[in-house]
C-alpha cells in the first residue's frame, strides 16, 4: 500500500504520511495494551476489534467516498437504524422472506443516498444540511415503524449471530468480519481502479476543473452518496446481526464516529485526499481505545469519547501541518 500500483520510486506523500502516522499510533497503542494487559496481545482481541466494529467499518468506508468528494453524510447512523427496523418489521410482522427483505433494505439505503445526492448536486444545497434532513427523516421513519425496541427472532438472524468461522486453533471470526473485509476490498478497488473512483478524487480536488475536464460530476457525486447509503444500510443489517434487535435509538452518533474514523485515517475533510485503508486503521484505532478501556475496567466508557476527541484534534492539527507546505507556492 504505497504507490497504489503506480510503479516507481516510493514517495512519502502527505496522504501517505497521515496514514502512516495512524498506523504507527495503532501499533504503539496495541503494544502498550499488550504490555500492560498480557491477555490483550492475543489474535482473538484483534479479531474482536473487527467483530465489534464491523458495522462501523462498513459505514465509515461509505463515508470515505462522500468525504473524498468534499461532502459529508450525517444520515448514516439514522439510515443504519432504519435498515435494522425495516429488517425487524418486515421479517417479524409481515413475514417476508429474507431473500426479499435484505435486498430491499439495501435498496432503501441506496435510495436515501440518491435522494440526498440529487438534492445536493442539482439544488446546490450544502451536504451538511441535505444529509441532516435525511438524518431526521430516517430517524423519524424508525419511530413510525415502532417506538420500542424490536427483537429479531428470525432464524436466519439468530443463526447468523451465532455462526463462527474458525481461524486457526483458538481464533474464530463472524461472517460480519468477512463482509467488512469484502466491502473494504471492493471500496479499495473501486476508488483506485475504476473511473468512478478516480472521478471521486478529481471532484474532491476541484469540482469546477473536473466539470471542465469532461468528467461526469453530477453522476459521480450522486453515486458517492448512493455508496454511502448502501454502506449505511449494510452497516445497519450487520448491527442487527450483532444485537439481534432493532430500535430507533440504535446507532445514535454513529455518523460522528464514522467521520472521526475517516479523519483520523488521514482523509482530508475538504476532499480529494485520503485512502480507504486509512479509514480501516481509523476504525481499528477507535476500537482499540475502547478495548483498552474495557481491559482497564474501572474507567467510564465516556473516556473513549475523550480519547477520540483528543485524537481527532491531534490529527486535524497534523493534517494542517502536513498540508501547509503545499499551500504556499
Amino acid at each position: 500500500m504505497t504507490t497504489l500500483g503506480l510503479k516507481g520510486p516510493v514517495r512519502i506523500r502527505r496522504e501517505h504520511a497521515a496514514v502512516l502516522v495512524t498506523f504507527g499510533l495503532l501499533v504503539a497503542m496495541f503494544a502498550a495494551g499488550s504490555i500492560v494487559y498480557p491477555a490483550f496481545g492475543s489474535a482473538q482481541v484483534v479479531v474482536d476489534l473487527f467483530i465489534d466494529n464491523g458495522f462501523l467499518l462498513v459505514i465509515a468506508i461509505g463515508m470515505t467516498f462522500v468525504i473524498l468528494t468534499g461532502g459529508i453524510d450525517l444520515s448514516v447512523g439514522a439510515v443504519a437504524a432504519l435498515s435494522g427496523m425495516l429488517c425487524a418489521f418486515l421479517l417479524g410482522q409481515w413475514h417476508w422472506p429474507v431473500a426479499v427483505v435484505l435486498p430491499l433494505v439495501l435498496l432503501v439505503g441506496v435510495g436515501f443516498g440518491f435522494g440526498m445526492g440529487y438534492v445536493i448536486h442539482h439544488f446546490e444545497i450544502q451536504p451538511f444540511i441535505a444529509t441532516l434532513a435525511g438524518m431526521f427523516l430516517a430517524r423519524g421513519l424508525c419511530f413510525v415503524i415502532s417506538v420500542d425496541q424490536i427483537s429479531i427472532t428470525h432464524p436466519f438472524f439468530t443463526e447468523w449471530a451465532q455462526t463462527r468461522i474458525p481461524l486457526g486453533e483458538e481464533t474464530n471470526v463472524t461472517p460480519t468480519v468477512l463482509i467488512g473485509l469484502v466491502v473494504f476490498a471492493a471500496a479499495f478497488w473501486t476508488l483506485h481502479y475504476t473511473r468512478f473512483g478516480r472521478a471521486v478524487y478529481a471532484i474532491g480536488g476541484n469540482d469546477q476543473s473536473a466539470l471542465l475536464m469532461g468528467l461526469p460530476v453530477a453522476r459521480t457525486r450522486i453515486r458517492a452518496y448512493m455508496v454511502s447509503g448502501l454502506c449505511s444500510a449494510l452497516g445497519g443489517i450487520l448491527f442487527a446481526f450483532y444485537t439481534i434487535s432493532a430500535s430507533g435509538l440504535h446507532e445514535v452518533g454513529t455518523e460522528l464516529d464514522a467521520i472521526a474514523a475517516v479523519v483520523i485515517g488521514g482523509t482530508l475533510l475538504t476532499g480529494g485526499s485520503g485512502y480507504v485503508v486509512g479509514t480501516v486503521l481509523g476504525v481499528m484505532l477507535l476500537g482499540t481505545i475502547q478495548t483498552i478501556l474495557r481491559f482497564q475496567g474501572t474507567l467510564s466508557s465516556w473516556w473513549t469519547r475523550i480519547a477520540i476527541g483528543v485524537l481527532l484534534l491531534l490529527f486535524i492539527l497534523l493534517q494542517r501541518l502536513l498540508g501547509s507546505s503545499r499551500t504556499r507556492r
Binding site: L6, K7, Y193, R195, Y201, A202, S209, G214, L215
Partner: protein
C-alpha cells in the same frame, strides 16, 4: 482553402443587464492558428463558452464540419473534438500529472484502470511535447507553467480537431511561451485548428495566421495577421486611436521629488522567498520591479506590505522605522497593496462594485464608524467616474464585470484611502490593451500627484514606460537598479537578467 472545420453563424448571447454576444459570425479552418482579439468584456470568453457548451446561445447556430451541432457541455464538446485549455488551469491539483492527462478516459482492461499504461503513455506524451516533469508528481507541486503545459498535453491528446487556448501564456515566461508556440505550430501543421486568445500583441503576431476581432460583443472583422498593422488592430479592438498609449511616452522627469523617502527598506529579506535587499521609494516616484516569473517580484512586494513577515532588515515608512507585522500595520501607515490574483486575493465577487470599493476605507475607519450612505455614494460615484468603470452601476455584483474593470475596482478601493505608497502587483495582467493603457496612465498621474508607486509587472515594456527607477530581480535576489530608465531597452534589461550577478 478547405471548408471551415468550425463555423458560428449569427450567434447571440445575453446575460441579465449585459449583451455579451450580438449576431457574431466566426470561422475556423483546419491547420490554422486563429487569434480571437478584443478588449475585456468584448465577448471573447462568452464566445468560447458557447463553443464549449458552458453557455447555450440565445440565437444563431454552430456548425462543426458543416453539420449543425448543439453543444450541451464541456464533455459533449470534448467528444465532438473541441478541446479547451482555460486561462486558469483547470486540472485537479491532488492528482498526479499522468492521471490529469488521462482522467475520464483511462485505459482499462476488464473494468480495471491500467496504471502502468497510464504512466507509460503520459511519459511518452510529456517527452514528445518536451515537458520536463515526472508523470508521477502530484500536479499541485508543479509550477503554474508546467500545469498549463500539462493541460495542453491533455487537450491535444484528446484528438482535438479544434483546440481552444484561452490565455494560455499569461503565466508562462518567455522560454515556456516559445515551447508552447513550437507545440502549437506542430499541431497546426498536423491539421489541427487552433483558437488562440492572448492579450500579448507580440505573441499574437508571432504565432497566429488569422484573427477575428470583437468589440462590445459584436464582430468587427476577420483579418489575415500579416496584413493588419498593430496600430489598426488596436484601433479595431478599442474603437479609439492610439493617442492614450502615445501620451504615456511623454513623461515629466522633474515630477520626481527628492524628498524624504516614503519607504526605505534596509536589508529586508525572507528566507526562501527573497534575499535581503535595500529599496527607497520617494514621493511621486514610480519604482518598477522587473524580473522573470518566480524571480521574487511578488515576494518582495508582499514584504513591503506586511503580507509576509520579513526575517531580516528594517522598513522605515515616512522616516520612522515601522515593524510591518501585518497588512493592517501597513495600511495604518498609508501603504496600499493590489495583489496579483484579483479573484482570490482581492475582489469579493459576491459583493457589489460599490461595496468592494469602500471596503478598505471602511476597514481603515474601523467597523464602529460606518460611512454614511451619502458619503459612500459620493465616493463610489467619484472613483467610478474617474477610473471609467463600466458598466457604471455601483450595485452590480463585482463578478459580472470584465477583468479590466475588476482591476479598476480594486484600484479604486485603495485609491479611496489616499495612500502614500501604492503597491501594484501585476495590475495589468490579463486585461486588454485599452484598459492597460488607462491603468498605466492612471499610475503616471497618481505619481504626478505625489503618490509613491511600487509597480510589479512581467511586461518589461510596461515597466520601462512608466517607471522612474527599475529594480531588477533574478533568482529571488535584487541584482541591479537602473536609475535612468530613458536609456535602457527591454533587451537591455533582459541582458542584465540573463548575465546578472549570481551567487
Amino acid at each position: 482553402m478547405p471548408g471551415a472545420v468550425l463555423e458560428m453563424i449569427g450567434v447571440s448571447k445575453g446575460f441579465p443587464g449585459v449583451r455579451a454576444l450580438a449576431d457574431v459570425d466566426f470561422r475556423l479552418f483546419p491547420g490554422e492558428i486563429h487569434a480571437l482579439m478584443g478588449e475585456n468584456g468584448a465577448g471573447k470568453s462568452t464566445l468560447i463558452k458557447v463553443l464549449t457548451g458552458v453557455h447555450s446561445a440565445d440565437a444563431g447556430e454552430v456548425r462543426l464540419g458543416g453539420e449543425r451541432v448543439t453543444v450541451t457541455g464541456p464533455q459533449h464538446a470534448q467528444s465532438l473534438g473541441i478541446s479547451t485549455v482555460y486561462q486558469e488551469v483547470n486540472l485537479c491539483p491532488n492528482l498526479t500529472v499522468a492521471e490529469n492527462v488521462f482522467i475520464g478516459r483511462e485505459p482499462s482492461k476488464a473494468g480495471a484502470i491500467r496504471w502502468r499504461e497510464i504512466r507509460r503513455r503520459a511519459a511518452e506524451l510529456l517527452t514528445r511535447f518536451g515537458v520536463d516533469v515526472d508523470p508521477g508528481a502530484r500536479l499541485g507541486t508543479c509550477s503554474l507553467a508546467i500545469q498549463q503545459l500539462v493541460a495542453i498535453v491533455r487537450a491535444v491528446d484528446i484528438s482535438a480537431k479544434v483546440l481552444i487556448l484561452d490565455e494560455p501564456t499569461s503565466s508562462l515566461d518567455r522560454d515556456e511561451v516559445e515551447q508552447l508556440f513550437t507545440v502549437m505550430r506542430r499541431l497546426r501543421d498536423d491539421g489541427v485548428a487552433i483558437l488562440f486568445v492572448s492579450h500579448f500583441l507580440d505573441q499574437v503576431y508571432e504565432v497566429s495566421d488569422r484573427m477575428t476581432v470583437l468589440r462590445n460583443g459584436a464582430l468587427v472583422g476577420e483579418y489575415e495577421t500579416a496584413r493588419l498593422s498593430r496600430i489598426d488592430l488596436v484601433g479595431h479592438m478599442t474603437g479609439r486611436t492610439l493617442s492614450t498609449l502615445e501620451q504615456l511616452h511623454v513623461r515629466d522627469e522633474t515630477a520626481r521629488v527628492q524628498a524624504e523617502p516614503v519607504l526605505k527598506a534596509d536589508g529586508v529579506g525572507r528566507r526562501g522567498a527573497i534575499a535581503p535587499f535595500d529599496l527607497e521609494i520617494h514621493p511621486g516616484e514610480v519604482v518598477g520591479l522587473a524580473g522573470l516569473l518566480g524571480s521574487g517580484r511578488t515576494e518582495a512586494a508582499r514584504l513591503m506590505f506586511g503580507a509576509d513577515l520579513a526575517d531580516s532588515g528594517t522598513v522605515a515608512l515616512g522616516g520612522a522605522s515601522v515593524p510591518l507585522r501585518s497588512p493592517n500595520a501597513a495600511i495604518q501607515h498609508g501603504v496600499a497593496f493590489c495583489p496579483e490574483n484579483r479573484k482570490s486575493e482581492g475582489l469579493i465577487e459576491d459583493l457589489t462594485v460599490g461595496e468592494n470599493i469602500v471596503l478598505a476605507l471602511q476597514a481603515a475607519n474601523g467597523w464602529l464608524r460606518p460611512l454614511s450612505q451619502a458619503r459612500r455614494q459620493e465616493l463610489v460615484g467619484r472613483y467610478m467616474t474617474a477610473l471609467r468603470i463600466t458598466p457604471a452601476d455601483p450595485d452590480m455584483p463585482a463578478r459580472n464585470l470584465s477583468g479590466g474593470n475588476q482591476q479598476k475596482v480594486l484600484l479604486a478601493r485603495w485609491l479611496i484611502t489616499q495612500p502614500k505608497l501604492l503597491i501594484l502587483d501585476e495590475p495589468t495582467r490579463g486585461i486588454d490593451v485599452g484598459a492597460k493603457a488607462e491603468i498605466q496612465k492612471l499610475v503616471v498621474s497618481l505619481a504626478e500627484d505625489g503618490v509613491a508607486v511600487l509597480f510589479v509587472s512581467a511586461e518589461l515594456e510596461e515597466v520601462l514606460r512608466i517607471s522612474h527607477k527599475i529594480e531588477i530581480l533574478r533568482d529571488r535576489r535584487l541584482i541591479a537598479e537602473i536609475g535612468d530608465t530613458g536609456s535602457v531597452t527591454p533587451e537591455g534589461i533582459l541582458e542584465i537578467i540573463a548575465n546578472g550577478t549570481t551567487s
